[in-house]
Amino acid sequence: MRRNVLPGLRLSLGVTLFYVGLIVVLPLAALVFKAASLGPADYWAIVSSPRAVATYRVTVLCALAATVFNLFFGLALAWVLTRYRFPGWRFVDALVDLPFALPTAVAGIALTALFSANGWFGAALAPLGIKVAYTPLGIMIAMIFTSLPFIVRTVQPVLEDLDPALEEAAQSLGGSDWTIFRKVILPLLKPALLAGLSLSFARSLGEFGAIIFIAGNKPFETEITALLIFIRLEEYDYQAAAAIASVLLITAFSMLALTNFMQARALRYTARG
């Protein structure tokens, strides 16, 4: 190892790696190990059972929809919070972090109360024929709520650091506001948007507390994968739980890998050479 001027490299590196190994790698390895103790045929039978597949479909589709929604809304919120100062700005800025801070069960109960047939929103939406509680729509809303901060908090600092001269230059060259947003601002935000997007999606995939209250949890319809894992655990079927969990794990990993790859591509221009 190259000699480093800063002291404490070996110690801090050792502690850090040990900690990461203990807290992150070991549990994941145990999960994979548990799942692998099933034979390939049993593993496949469990993860491809119709009930499990139905949960993947509900979870992934709802997570995708929630992430796309948050992509637009989160960007808009980050934009407003960076570009404008209004009365109550501080309050709104603090509110954004609330879904992080709130126990997700509390969020789930609150959302259920609002959207149930006799709740404020539920009662208003019922005459229109829109049912939220106990439908995939409810799952989406719970996911939107819990993963809102990710896009806002990844985009906001980048937007704040954006050199105003870039927009002024684009203006002086005759660009309209929309052109400047599309051709100058958005490409520069892309890496941050991708980072926020992958975090938001991963969080939605794994969300449990906020969803189970509002989802209704009807197998094949509104049962999410995380709940099925929980059900298998309650049945003391640890291997099946681990097998299904490994599917979530692989999905989350693939999503992270894909967005990292896209991020690296979007940042190619920063490479020197």
């Binding site: 684009a170 005759g174 221009y269």
Partner: protein
């Protein structure tokens, strides 16, 4: 395109940045706005560009009142101090940006040909596929200029164009900008706090202080006939000696100096380091040498007069002098301004 500023005023939240500035810039002229930081020079430039709206007064482009025309319709090319190149676009895309977003539709071939021409003009042929992060500061500044020129601006505005570059690159770019200006003949206004840059480059220098024009004129006029102590001090190193003026003459220990136009009363005599002469004896102001600084072209002497004034002046490299010597300082040329 002629530019006329008529009593332009700009106030920021609490302080007044520009206090009624009027200025005429002839078509094809190369004019420097020179001043210390906070003198309002950049604000004036940004108002001419339309990046800032004035709070009072008018700005005319030719005969057209441009005061309320937004920047995107004003037809100016603006070069930013830190280039403001779009980091995610290649050099070619940066230069093509203005042509692509313009209401005037151009064909792809036309744009490509123009990008090539501009790259040749700024001597960056072959770099169109690089990204801004991959080229040097001087090259970035040239790309920024090419990008501004791509939209055929009526007026070219540069904000401290060479401020972030090192001295050698700066000198090269200065000469090169002069050549480009001569070739294109586009009315150009640039902001700088570097007197040397303003004097080297501009046809006319406008000196600002505290949001007002202090003096404007050719480099020769402002150098030879500075109209105030501020201009005298700002344009270069200067020595100042306290004095009193009586009947148009400044009284100094070594004799009288003409002080035309200076009212009677306390005043200051300003002398450039090159306008003092040194001799070991003879007539002049007696002074003790404190330090001798050797420079490539001359030796600079720091000396104190018996009255306690510090003087800095340059002597020929072969002059024999050392700290502790006593000699006589003679004033060759001086300007006298009433004490502020």
């Amino acid at each position: 395109m002629k530019i006329r500023l008529e009593n332009v005023v700009k106030t920021f939240d609490t302080f007044r940045a520009v206090h009624g500035v009027s200025l005429d810039i002839g078509s094809g002229e190369l004019v420097a706005l020179l001043g210390p930081s906070g003198s309002g020079k950049t604000t004036i430039l940004r108002m001419v560009a339309g990046l800032e709206y004035s709070d009072g007064g008018h700005i005319y482009f030719g005969d057209q009142d441009a005061t309320d025309i937004p920047v995107r319709d004003r037809g100016v090319g603006f070069v930013f101090q830190h280039y403001a190149l779009f980091p995610h676009m290649t050099i070619g895309e940066n230069i093509a940006f203005g042509m692509k977003v313009s209401k005037l539709k151009r064909s792809t071939e036309e744009i490509e040909a123009r990008v090539k021409d501009l790259l040749r003009l700024v001597k960056l042929d072959g770099l169109q596929d690089r990204f801004p992060a991959q080229i040097s500061g001087g090259q970035r500044q040239r790309v920024a200029l090419a990008r501004a020129l791509a939209v055929d601006p009526k007026v070219l505005l540069l904000d401290e164009p060479f401020g972030a570059l090192d001295a050698n690159v700066r000198r090269d770019l200065r000469r090169w900008l002069r050549e480009i200006h001569a070739e294109l003949g586009i009315t150009t206004l640039f902001v700088t706090h570097d007197q040397e840059e303003a004097l080297d480059l501009a046809d006319r220098v406008v000196i600002l202080n505290g949001g007002q024009i202090v003096q404007e004129g050719t480099p020769e006029q402002v150098c030879r006939q500075p109209n105030s102590a501020f201009v005298m001090r700002f344009l270069g190193d200067t020595n100042s000696l306290k004095t009193t003026v009586a009947n148009g003459k400044a009284q100094l220990p070594a004799g009288e100096i003409d002080a035309p136009g200076c009212p009677d009363g306390p005043a200051e005599v300003f002398v450039r380091p090159g306008d003092l002469d040194w001799a070991s004896d003879g007539a002049g102001i007696p002074a003790d040498v404190h330090q001798v600084l050797d420079r490539p072209g001359n030796r600079r002497i720091l000396a104190a007069t018996v009255q306690g004034d510090t003087l800095e002046f340059d002597v020929a490299p072969e002059t024999v002098v050392k700290a502790g010597d006593r000699g006589m300082v003679r004033i060759i040329r001086a300007k006298v301004f009433a004490a502020g």
